[in-house]
């Protein structure tokens, strides 16, 4: 369907995922070009000759379970608002507390512990530069931790979907 899907990934086979073939198709085949028609889920259902209620139920469930984050846009970075990758060097014993404080900002959309001296990595997307600066200085002040500011300078490749190399059985 798309070029991205033609790039075969040499991942090992999946065999521990309980998804039906319809669920797999609904996850894999509509990462690009989700139908832009009045009844997109009907269009999908017709394509696979299933009932639309099945399609709606599967998407609802996969979203509820967290396998699918959403059906929506992946927006080009720095199109809207101001965003930044930041990293903090957090003492191990304070990590939970500080991670929670960082999470409390609705502008923080990713937040991971990583194996490094700089161990807390998060992305802030704020309405504008001013708000971004306020959040960064608040976090710096509240934690007293060393902070790296790593804005995007050039995107060679951004999330263009992900080919889930399903087990064929």
């Amino acid at each position: 369907m798309t070029k991205a899907l033609d790039k075969n990934i040499e991942y090992g086979e999946f065999n521990d995922q309980p998804y039906t073939s319809l669920e797999k198709v609904l996850m894999n085949d509509f990462q690009h070009d989700f139908p832009l028609s009045s009844q997109p889920f009907h269009e999908i259902a017709d394509r696979y000759r299933v009932d639309v209620s099945q399609v709606l139920n599967i998407y609802e469930r996969l979203i509820a379970e967290g396998a699918i984050s959403r059906i929506g846009p992946v927006i080009k970075p720095n199109t809207i608002g101001a965003s930044l990758l930041a990293a903090l060097l957090v003492p191990e014993e304070k990590l939970n507390e500080i991670a929670e404080m960082v999470n409390s900002y609705p502008e923080v959309n990713h937040n991971y512990e990583r194996e490094h001296k700089f161990n807390l990595w998060f992305v802030i997307t704020a309405a504008d530069e001013k708000r971004l600066e306020i959040i960064l200085s608040e976090i710096k002040e509240k934690t007293g931790c060393q902070l790296l500011r790593l804005p995007l300078e050039e995107a060679f490749h951004i999330d263009l979907g992900f080919n889930l190399k399903w087990n064929q059985h």
Partner: protein, 172 residues
């Protein structure tokens, strides 16, 4: 909240539209009609405007966004490289040609604490798999002397869609 409006080619309705779909379409018989009701425009206009945002490249894609971790791709490694400034573009383009790379960005160094200026992300089902993919890429390109580090994720504290626009009046 509309301060960014003028410098990115988005008009007011597009701004509102993004606010209402950034966290996902409703799973409903006519999702675009539900959005259009919220915005007070027609369903056809919602569809046309989404098409236009895709065509203009402001939406890199429009569709299902999966969570790697929940689907068995449990390892997510951020690989960071220290690349000479005049080579970073070539190396970035080379890295992105590998199908297991989901992101590849140039970011500024923060000397002296942080020497790395090229970042990429690899998702895999095991640590071993990620390491093998990476080693293969390094040896194929003869990058053995290039300084890099691999930052595996240990815990995910948060992962959700970015709230590009906060719109208290609109349910997202």
């Amino acid at each position: 909240m509309e301060s960014a409006l003028n410098n990115n080619g988005l008009d007011y309705i597009e701004h509102q539209l993004i606010a209402s779909i950034q966290n996902g379409l409703p799973i409903a018989d006519r999702p675009y009609a539900e959005i259009s009701d919220q915005l007070g425009i027609s369903e056809a206009e919602v569809i046309n405007r989404i098409s236009s945002l895709i065509e203009r490249g402001l939406f890199k894609r429009f569709g299902v966004v999966v969570r790697h971790h929940e689907l068995g791709y449990r390892e997510n490694a951020m690989v960071v490289w220290d690349i000479a400034d005049d080579q970073v573009q070539a190396v970035g383009n080379q890295i992105k040609s590998y199908p297991f790379i989901t992101l590849c960005y140039r970011r500024p160094r923060q000397l002296p604490e942080w020497r790395y200026n090229l970042f990429c992300m690899i998702h895999g089902k095991s640590r071993n798999e990620v390491t093998l993919l990476l080693e293969e890429m390094i040896s194929e390109n003869d990058w053995c002397d290039v300084p890099y580090e691999v930052l595996f994720s240990k815990r995910r504290f948060k992962q959700c869609a970015a709230n590009y626009i906060s719109q208290p009046g609109i349910k997202t």
